[in-house]
């Protein structure tokens, strides 16, 4: 499954950190400059891509608070 996050809103650092944190449920990598992210779920995880969106946003929130 390929998901796209707009680089103008999402930081690449947060995406990379999220991919690392999600490594137990999926494999993922950034495949293009436009931050298309290929996610390969290991199991049938419901709402995986949506949870990924939220997780990236939450990481950015935490960074903003520091």
């Amino acid at each position: 499954m390929i998901i796209r996050l707009n680089r103008k809103f999402y930081s690449e650092t947060a995406v990379r950190e999220a991919l690392n944190d999600f490594k137990h449920v999926c494999k993922g990598r950034i495949v293009s400059e436009a931050m298309a992210i290929e996610i390969l779920p290991k199991d049938n995880v419901p709402f995986l891509k949506e949870e990924f969106y939220n997780y990236v946003l939450a990481l950015m929130k935490n960074k903003a608070l520091v």
Partner: protein
């Protein structure tokens, strides 16, 4: 429904004007919904920000969600404006608090330089112990 809000299945898509609501305000409003909805930001931060909200709960009323999101936008836009207006006074208060509690430039050290002054026998009444008791002991012997 308002022209900048449209419903696509279980998702509500909200178009936000970044000239009215800055990007930081959109982020702050989005963070409020992290536990209740899935959020995807898209669009152009200079022209139009697209916020896609999908409630986690199937029973949630997505039109209410859109309204709540707009309310949060106003809430955080106002917060940002007030924060900017009160920035100087907040900095002054913080500076005052830090200065009040800052340690003194020189640490408090006891000054023993004049301690001998207290031992000065001004009225010549101090008699050394040996001198006072030696004579008595000698007399007894």
């Amino acid at each position: 429904m308002d022209s900048n809000i449209r419903v696509e299945g279980s998702t509500v898509v909200i178009a936000v004007n970044p000239k009215v609501y800055p990007l930081e305000t959109v982020y702050s409003a989005s963070y409020v919904f992290l536990d209740r909805a899935f959020i995807l930001l898209d669009g152009d931060p200079e022209k139009e920000v697209i916020v896609r909200l999908t409630p986690r709960s199937k029973e949630a009323n997505i039109e209410n969600f859109a309204g709540e999101f707009l309310n949060e936008l106003i809430n955080y836009a106002d917060y940002a404006k007030r924060a900017e207006q009160t920035k100087a006074i907040r900095e002054a208060i913080l500076q005052r608090a830090l200065l009040t509690n800052s340690p003194p430039e020189k640490p408090d050290v006891l000054d023993f330089s004049d301690i001998d002054a207290h031992l000065d026998d001004v009225e010549s009444i101090v008699i050394p112990w040996e001198e006072k008791y030696k004579k008595k002991n000698d007399n007894k012997a």
